[in-house]
Symmetry: C2
Subunit: 485 residues, 2 copies
Amino acid sequence: MAYFDTASAAPLHPVAREALLAALDEGWADPARLYREGRRARMLLDAARETAAEAVGCRPDEVVFTPSGTQAVHAGVSGALAGRRRAGRRLLHSAVEHSSVLHAAEAHEAAGGSRVELAVDRTGRVAAGDVAAALTPDTALACLQSANHEVGTEQPVEEVAALCREAGVPLLVDAAQSLPWGPVPGAWSLVTASAHKWGGPPGVGLLAVRKGTRFAPQGPRDERESGRSAGFENIPAVVAAAAALRALRADPGTGAEAERLRGLVDRIRARVPRLVADVEVVGDPVRRLPHLVTFSCLYVDGEALLHELDRAGFSVSSGSSCTSGTLTPSHVLRAMGVLSEGNVRVSLPYGTAEAEVDRFLEVLPRVVHAVRARLGVPVAGAGAARSPEAGSGSGSGSAEASGAASENAEAPGLVVDSLGKRCPIPVIELAKAIGEVPVGGTVTVLSDDEAARQDIPAWCAMRDQEYAGERAAERGAAYVVRRRA
Amino acid sequence: MAYFDTASAAPLHPVAREALLAALDEGWADPARLYREGRRARMLLDAARETAAEAVGCRPDEVVFTPSGTQAVHAGVSGALAGRRRAGRRLLHSAVEHSSVLHAAEAHEAAGGSRVELAVDRTGRVAAGDVAAALTPDTALACLQSANHEVGTEQPVEEVAALCREAGVPLLVDAAQSLPWGPVPGAWSLVTASAHKWGGPPGVGLLAVRKGTRFAPQGPRDERESGRSAGFENIPAVVAAAAALRALRADPGTGAEAERLRGLVDRIRARVPRLVADVEVVGDPVRRLPHLVTFSCLYVDGEALLHELDRAGFSVSSGSSCTSGTLTPSHVLRAMGVLSEGNVRVSLPYGTAEAEVDRFLEVLPRVVHAVRARLGVPVAGAGAARSPEAGSGSGSGSAEASGAASENAEAPGLVVDSLGKRCPIPVIELAKAIGEVPVGGTVTVLSDDEAARQDIPAWCAMRDQEYAGERAAERGAAYVVRRRA
């Protein structure tokens, strides 16, 4: 069995387990009380705060514990926005933030605020220049994750923090994925994180607000945690979380382990496209989290793939629409403009054995093949093999194809009715149909599947076909693809 | 050592500890994931929800877990109010609710809603008739605790629930203190509770919303816990909390234990006034929580009393102003109109040894005496000993005294300047001064201590003196007391 989804939740660190057990006996009482059990609880809480502050790189009185990373984000965003109410109500964030940031931004918008979503490039990175251009005087807050939770790409946080400081706008950095590996660099104003991502127990988030940052906690008043997080403190869990973080920071092997995992991820990044046809490895190959890699497989049903990998003993997650409750693909993959079908995220826990990664690389091709076979995927051939020449020649080929297309406005075209069919079927039907029209001819896919909007253009980019756009249709939408070669 | 503050937090139940340990190994993963670790976590969460629902007396899909009782209340109040937005924005609650309810009500008011606070009698109970009269058609929600957390008085929840149902108004019952002893009776719409009050770990609250109750969760959207509680589920703690609650319900001794503790509390209620002079035992003597009793001692500094009791090995809490961060006395004691100085709340944990209660009764008089001696309290004598005759004769005596007072509008009066002095000093100075004026004469106490507003009238009631009201003063207020005997 190999658990490769540490970006969702890491198993409890042994040090955290020990600390939790001790703190259940010593830290269960109310730290606001004056008697010995209360004082003991208060001492544990204070010590945990000092430990966490040191790991974050700030002062203990700048750190509060929340019941989750999500609540740290919600409290941080709403408090910072309210603290800057006089400056304006404009919230800036990247398009690839964690859903907790996006949901906080939606709530802000619903309450009359405005928000600006910054686009990312195909690796998932925000351009610092875009942030600089968007930092208007009425911007109340900017949010930028330290590294992406789905594809691992690191954001230019230090550079953006400097720009924000210059503009007088506070920057909130969601460091949920990167804090296990080191503190957030630069002149940030707020940092949020989640303990169960670094081997702490669930039930603990962290919100650091640097002195000088205007902050007005929202929601009903509560005297605990400096009024920034309501409810009785979960001291045993907080103590355990701090112990795990301290253990990671104190371990001289953390840096070495990061390098080792980085090497294993490099191996996956290099080998998967060689072992499996029609795969897109996404995210930045270098400026990324050490332990995380994501790829998408054409003509694959993500849920079936996860199921097969689970049967083979691998626990991974996916941003495919079929693996989400809402049947929409991951907003991160969408913002990057990459394929979402057959998506797999591998995030290696601290200490992952090399042999497990090799076994994964052995199992994966077989599993993908089996899923594709069941779906009746077009065999490699017309349109199914991507030659480097075709790729490099696509620039000029494109011009020719368009020329041909405009001459043949009424040229041969095929309509594929994929209504009612879910990812990856519309893309599979497109791949089958493209060989049936002449070069310059079009295939129009009718689909009401949300994933098609993202995956048909992504398929075109991968297969060097021309994506000619989307038209409204009676049901769903009509996606037009023009054959290039 | 005796921990007598289980109403603040109960130590972890052994069953909860065991369940927590097991669930740390089995329930750390994301229950929304499809792989085995996720499915296992989901199963544990589902089972815990079933257990909790059974103990609450509702359906599993009516229960969500929150990170604390406070957050259960905040989410319950805001969600129920928003769900009833069309009916109106009027919120009804008793004056003695837990601070989490009051703070939720304040937030509602700050957002433009209205609220009506229902008064309580001297035992801390709301009159069902008052609730009935206050249930206007535009009332969106009523909140009533099942039993008070500071004085133990049970509220007429079942009767009020029936009235609310008839009026079509949902009732939220804060059952934090009573749920360990049994489910909330009657036709309630929402119930909230907190696991660390019943021997579960910290980090778990419970919110039950009965089907048919209009409910619109507030705050940023989150898909977990039916959208009613944001953030990654704390499954190990939830499992432990459910295990502790099941253990309490399954234990045929719970009823017997309640009766045993009820007897011990009766002993405290009966003996404390005999062992210690000038004590007021507050709350309903019969319709109350089994394990909780509160009394206040005249001329005693609550913080010093707590400190001395702690030194003697007893952990208790207090509603005295000097033991709160804000230097205001407990709002519960204030609403009841009872003394707040020298206040002690004893809440006995499950299994408290009889001998410990007896030792407490042995230690208490000595400790109170020591604190009073240090404060230079007036020795028993004029005004300091309360004879039953004086008490029973106060009705007629009062009329005479008032007559005398109105004849002597310019009668001898003393002004005591207690400005800058904190509870219990103003009351001690009043007690010293009252003997120096003739019957019918007045003592005017100048005080800027918030506790004086509550404790001077309470002293008058206890000592059968006439409280003649409060006047504005340059600093603080002037409290006028007329000597009766």
